[in-house]
């Protein structure tokens, strides 16, 4: 599996989901913010997919089983709290991962150095909303908790080592990834992620979900092209026009 494809698909798919919010956001400022995040992610996806091949061929002509994104990012938007829960889990992960990539001298260091600034903003946006929804009203508290609970089982997959993610972000002794050829210490990454997410969740007066974080089916499945049912429908919508005009340029 190409690491560019894995990271690119994460960004592409989450960007698409956020794009679905356009015209539906709870307040105008969030129309701007969600579109802004979606655009950042789409920009990252284009750079990453271009490393792996032709961006449009990869986005529009692969079928479901060939996509390498996390199952987390393909989850439907749900209500605003579900979207924010997804943003929290993913943006903290992406921020920590890109920080490590940016600090190294691997293939993705330059790209990550640029993206990490955007991702820091995404993370801040998600954290601020988790606080507001968690510590807002009774209704928002319960919706936020339900968002965190519903998406929890997709978070184990985040720490499945991505092969070929070459980086000198951590020194050799720190590497405990199972694939053996990565500079990312996935256990350490998971620990940092858990620490950061716990901190926000507790400050928001919420409870970290206790269910299995990496249920047998979900763990690592997206990275292997095994997706959840809503994903196929998302791709059908995303790809139909492009596929209807083979060979056309736009």
């Amino acid at each position: 599996m190409s690491a560019a494809l894995a990271l690119g698909d994460d960004a592409l798919v989450l960007s698409h989901r956020l794009g679905e919010w356009a015209g539906h956001a709870p307040v105008l400022e969030e129309e701007v913010a969600l579109a802004n995040i979606a655009l950042d992610l789409l920009g990252q996806a284009r750079v990453l997919l271009s490393l792996a091949g032709d961006e449009d061929e990869l986005a529009y002509l692969r079928e479901e089983r060939a996509f390498r994104n996390l199952q987390l990012v393909e989850q439907p938007n749900g209500d605003f709290a579900h979207t924010i829960a997804r943003q929290l889990y993913f943006s903290v992960y992406q921020h920590l991962l890109y920080e490590r990539l940016a600090a190294g001298d691997g293939e993705f260091a330059g790209l990550a150095a640029k993206a990490v600034k955007e991702v820091a903003y995404h993370r801040d946006h998600a954290e601020q909303w988790v606080l507001r929804l968690g510590d807002g009203t009774e209704e928002s508290h319960s919706r936020m908790q339900s968002g965190l609970d519903a998406l929890w089982r997709f978070t184990g997959e985040l720490f499945q080592p991505i092969e070929d993610l070459d980086s000198a972000a951590t020194n050799a002794t720190g590497s405990s990834g199972s694939s053996g050829n990565t500079g990312i210490d996935w256990q350490e990454l998971q620990g940092s992620w858990l620490h950061a997410v716990t901190d926000v969740v507790e400050r928001a007066t919420l409870t970290l979900p206790t269910g299995p974080q990496s249920g047998g089916w979900a763990a690592g499945a997206g990275r292997q092209g095994l997706h959840t049912e809503p994903f196929g429908r998302m791709l059908a919508e995303m790809q139909h026009l492009h596929r209807s005009h083979p060979g056309a340029s736009w």
Partner: protein, 360 residues
């Protein structure tokens, strides 16, 4: 796609602008006391001298009401105008086009925010204006009641709808009300960019496959006439125009701007390799302008009355987004109340109208 459009000028409002004869700006009351008379003279002189009226300046009630109505409708048009284009974000045929479209829809939300802020300088609030939109008491441009049926519609909207909006808006950069004029300077820059992108999208389709070319032509066929309607009713049927021109809110008549737009579009259509769906368009040597066919004003009035193809759908989606988002806004307010540093909890929301009066 910002469309401040003249089409709203036919709507019935409770404003008193109708009553004011042209050239007697602000003089709508039967009995004005001496102080008011003096203020009116100062106001009229400032307008005549092309000076900018600012939020703290005295202004006639009817001038304020007209501006609130027009700026609110302009802001609403930005917000409702996101829908027909957002309809294609998830189906955009290339990642480059998808990014352009997302950025454009984001810009529109930003324009909306900007215009609501400008309107708030007149003593209203965004919440109040949105409530009026949702209750059907304020309008948005009629153009957004047409559906986007194909990808090419995104290009046609950029080229024609944004093009018409810019033709309308560039003169607004010199509008007598300062905050509105400054908002328009900023908005027009981005709109021009959007329009070029729309044109370029259509050009790619027109020069693409046969199916793409046909898609582009079909879109232009459907959007041409509604775009011409964006300039509003003919001059002899436009009730607010004279007063707005006397106040220098408006600088040109509906028909003048419409003519200007047609003259700009004809050569652009040729360059695109697309036909405008009007067999009567021809160059008129004597006038130095293009003649063009008659607009279907019956359709225009039906759309304004709420009977266009998407009126119901557009306002329903806007209301739903607002209603379904209420708990999020409530949460943010509750959180702010709990965590804001030592502000008195009893402080009521600002009432800009009074502030304006007090500081005048």
């Amino acid at each position: 796609m910002a469309a401040v459009t003249a089409d709203q000028t036919t709507q019935r409002t409770s404003g008193t602008a109708n009553a004011a004869p042209a050239g007697a700006a602000g003089n709508t009351a039967d009995a004005v006391d001496a102080a008011d008379a003096e203020r009116i003279v100062t106001f009229d002189a400032a307008v005549a001298a092309d000076e900018r009226i600012e939020p703290r300046d005295w202004m006639p009630d009817a001038y304020r009401a007209t501006l609130v109505r027009q700026m609110a409708q302009h802001a609403h048009s930005e917000i409702i105008g996101m829908q027909p284009e957002a309809n294609w974000i998830t189906r955009a045929p290339s990642l480059r086009r998808k990014a352009i479209l997302m950025a454009k829809v984001q810009d529109e939300a930003g324009h909306g925010l900007y215009l609501y802020s400008a309107a708030e300088t007149l003593g209203t609030s965004r919440e109040e204006l949105l409530d009026k939109l949702h209750a059907g008491r304020q309008r948005y441009s009629s153009i957004f009641n047409y559906p986007t049926l194909t990808w090419a519609d995104v290009g046609a909207i950029g080229w024609l709808v944004d093009g018409a909006a810019i033709t309308n808006q560039v003169p607004l950069c010199r509008c007598s009300y300062g905050p509105y004029a400054r908002a328009m300077v900023r908005i027009c820059k981005e709109e021009s960019f959007h329009q070029r992108q729309g044109y370029e999208l259509l050009l790619a389709l027109s020069r693409g496959t046969e199916a793409q070319h046909a898609m582009a032509q079909d879109a232009v066929n459907r959007w041409w006439w509604p775009s011409l309607m964006m300039f509003g009713p003919p001059d002899d049927a436009s009730s607010h125009s004279e007063q707005s021109m006397a106040w220098k809110i408006k600088r040109h008549s509906n028909d003048e701007l419409r003519q200007r737009f047609v003259d700009i579009c004809v050569p652009q259509a040729e360059a695109l390799g697309l036909q405008l769906p009007d067999p009567d368009i021809r160059w008129n040597e004597e006038r130095g302008q293009h003649d063009f066919g008659a607009i279907d004003w019956a359709e225009f009035h039906e759309v304004l009355k709420g009977n266009g193809p998407c009126n119901e759908q557009r306002i329903t989606q806007r209301r739903r987004a607002h209603e379904e988002g209420a708990w999020v806004r409530d949460a943010a307010a509750a959180y702010a109340a709990k965590h804001s540093p030592a502000t008195p909890a009893t402080e009521s929301p600002a009432q800009p109208a009074q502030q304006v009066e007090e500081t005048a």
